[in-house]
Symmetry: C2
Subunit: 481 residues, 2 copies
């Protein structure tokens, strides 16, 4: 997930942050909430028994999602938008989607500016010389190999930086220490992401030499959180980096000693014009004249980790759910799977899809881009006329421990602009308590994904697709007895 | 802690690994176990009521230890043995120990070989190109700036590497994937540290180009665990590094694909002759003819973190406890505080002290070098004649949740050789459940220390010193009424 707000409706208490604790808690929670339905059990009239069975089958045994996220993160690894690594990831995606039996597998390219990280280093020069761990933010200006050295001027928020006279900032290295607490729906990312999004532009316009921010993250590890920003209002690019949370706290302690603090900062990077692409595949519907259901995540990742939670898990969940439907038969409506390219630097893939297909009707848009911890809430925006469909989704998800939220909103990163245009959508919210421990850091790796929670995600998506698909017809070969 | 074995006697269940959880659990545990004694309360005849009061005062309000570890890690930061950073740390120590009012503050230098880390980089070249996070082990050979590139040959243990024919290893990069589980007494470090200690020598003798090991650590973060090793039996130095745990797991997944795996490794480093020193200070006893009590930790740290748990906490705890005694009056026996230099690269400070003072009688040696989580066990080796003193220590520690272990053994890093020589000692064991999540990594920073648990450590040490000191006489000024 690059950058979108989530609204705060909280009723599920988040799981503990240690992976092994998460696993055991979830195993218990899933056993408690998802009672498998035998084929013989009569289900509520609001729930299609076929869909309930598919949901439970996925919960019990889906391996498609794990195989995709394990394969993509292992055989490609990091895949920064617009680089040859992202191109290798696309080749991998085409091979995998084809091998899984999807139809109309295709690559739809688009042009974009590509920012690439170089050598990075930070150190306190005075009064207490010591190295610090830093990562450049996406679109940071480059210091060049010599780096820059300047006095730190510190602010506790973007508001304080905004209010500062230019004289205080000019020629200095701005430090913004705006702290982000963890919460389960991730809603803090909007509020607390401001230093990353707005800080560099404000600092540049006031004549700062560079800016370093406290990582927009909720962990206490020496792993810096990168993420995109852009210089707006004609601000000239300056070097912009994120210190790890422990380094930011160390800098605060050093500043509190009351002496001038000097930092040396090397943040090298390059920008060039390049290309990315969306990868698309389909489960053809029985009635091709009906609008498709669009499901996806994004293929690109930041460069520091292997993009397991952001967003290998997302493409894996969407694709596994579509495959679960395809295994069961032919849906009435086409399911269109999309692995968006270049989400991180600014929703380039989503915007390319929107430019090409955004005026066409869609039955629903759904995107997974918030890790793979347990889904706890479903929102939808299908319109008043389709409220029974939205309610049926709520009914079939309830046994997975998922509450029904809004009927008038849904969100997503790449699909966000199209939802804002008025296209219908469904939003499945994962627990975000530990998401911002890992997001955009070197620590976004496969070991952070819990297979049991991943299966709960696929089960939920399968159920939603089961409802939206308009009914699944078993393959003819199997129907002849 | 560089390198010592702890024996496994486990009866305390470890606390959770997240700092905030640790804090709240500990606060509850300490309230439950340590009932403060009012001066008026009659205590067990085995416990000196003055010592019990000092213990509870430290538990309730010691800030000396926090101020030392906060100050040292903030105002100096990393302090690799034999470097100018360690020299700055010594200056800091002398200033602090003098300001705290200790007597005979002095620096005792010694010569040593100094190993210094340079630029480091690892990447998989084929079949799935991607970067990996690595750190050189102390005393690693240098690849030079060009690095080395070779095929990986993988082993699940040092035993498997030992058993391999030289032909299998020659010219390749050895990978050893020996995994270390967490346990509360840290006893796995002996067993599971073998790849770091022995692996490089074995690999070198078989003609390996280089060796990378899975970090000797229990976490799942992209933080490599460094640590010392040495090439023995005439083995020529080769580059030797530790991959982070997630990177080692990634390499295993890549190897499982069955294709040859090529790695490029850059591990630059330099070695030169240099100097380190011990810093010593004293609380003079009323009877200078009696053997002193030696208490300490080590001042040097690895270079990746700021050496908070290893071993800023240790010098802080020992010094705070001595200060608590000094604040209360004059002990019968001298308490000698030592901040050992150059423990990490091979107990150089301990050996220098031993060479100078090791033949002189000591009343007891105690060292803190295992972080600052809750002390759960006390061992001692004071000899049969002093069993009542050892039992009195057990009695005064019990209200802190500390069990009595052995009466015939004690351990410590720098003091280990002197304990082996036959000098008496006391060992206070911290809970080590999360110690090897942090040990020797960039993540060894101040935020990993829980002030409440740190105070429990100081309370325990104060009580032990209270018993060993032979009685504290209140200052004359206060005695005159």
């Amino acid at each position: 997930m690059a950058d979108f707000r989530r609204t705060a409706v909280t009723s599920f208490h988040g799981v503990a942050s240690h992976p092994s604790m998460v696993r055991s808690l979830l195993a218990a929670a899933l056993l408690a909430t998802a009672a498998p339905l035998a084929a013989q059990v009569h289900v509520s009239p609001a729930v299609d028994p076929k869909v309930a069975l598919l949901r439970d089958k996925a919960l019990d045994g889906d391996n498609y999602a794990w195989e995709i996220v394990e394969g993509l993160t292992t055989e490609v690894g990091p895949r920064l938008a617009g680089t040859e690594a992202e191109a290798r990831a696309r080749d991998w995606a085409v091979r995998r989607l084809t091998a899984m039996g999807f139809a109309n597998v295709r690559v739809e390219p688009f042009d974009m500016p590509v920012w690439v990280r170089g050598y990075e280093h930070a150190e306190i020069v005075a009064p207490f010389p010591q190295p610090m761990v830093v990562a450049a933010l996406g679109n940071s200006g480059s210091t060049g190999p010599a780096g820059v050295t300047g006095e730190i001027v510190a602010f506790d928020s973007v508001d304080a930086l905004k209010a500062a006279p230019d004289d205080l900032v000019r020629g200095k290295i701005v430090f913004v220490d705006h702290r982000m607490p963890a919460n389960q729906d991730g809603s803090g990312y909007g509020e607390f992401g401001a230093p990353r999004r707005q800080g560099p532009t404000i600092a540049s316009k006031k004549g700062a030499l560079a800016i370093v921010i406290r990582s927009i993250g909720t962990d206490h590890h020496r792993n810096p959180h990168t993420g995109v920003m852009s210089f707006s209002d004609g601000a000239k690019p300056i070097p912009a980096g994120a210190l790890t949370v422990p380094d930011a706290e160390q800098l605060v302690r050093i500043l509190k000693r009351g002496q001038p603090v000097t930092m040396r900062l090397v943040l090298q990077s390059q920008t060039h014009q390049g290309q990315s692409a969306n990868v698309i595949a389909e489960v053809p519907g029985r009635d091709p004249s009906l609008p498709p259901i669009l499901v996806g995540g994004h293929l690109d990742s930041w460069d520091q980790g292997t993009g397991a939670i952001d967003d290998g898990a997302g493409v894996a969940i969407a694709t596994a759910a579509a495959k679960q439907i395809m295994d069961a038969g032919r849906p009435l409506r086409t399911i269109r799977i999309i692995w968006f390219g270049a989400e991180e630097p600014g929703l380039f893939g989503g915007n390319a899809y929107r430019a090409k297909y955004g005026k066409q009707p869609h039955h629903a848009l759904i995107e997974s881009d918030f890790g793979a911890d347990k889904i706890w809430k479903v929102d939808s925006k299908l319109g008043d006329a389709r409220k029974p469909e939205a309610e049926a989704i709520g009914k079939v998800l309830a046994p997975l421990g998922i509450v029904t939220g809004s009927f008038t909103e849904a969100d997503g990163s790449d699909i966000g602009p199209m939802l804002a245009d008025g296209l219908p959508g469904v939003g499945l919210s994962q627990d975000g308590t530990r998401y911002f421990d890992l997001h955009h850091t070197p620590d976004d790796t496969l070991d952070k994904i819990d297979p049991a929670q991943l299966r709960q995600n696929v089960a939920a998506w399968t159920a939603v697709l089961g409802v939206l698909s308009g009914g699944i017809e078993e393959p003819k070969a199997r129907k002849r007895r």
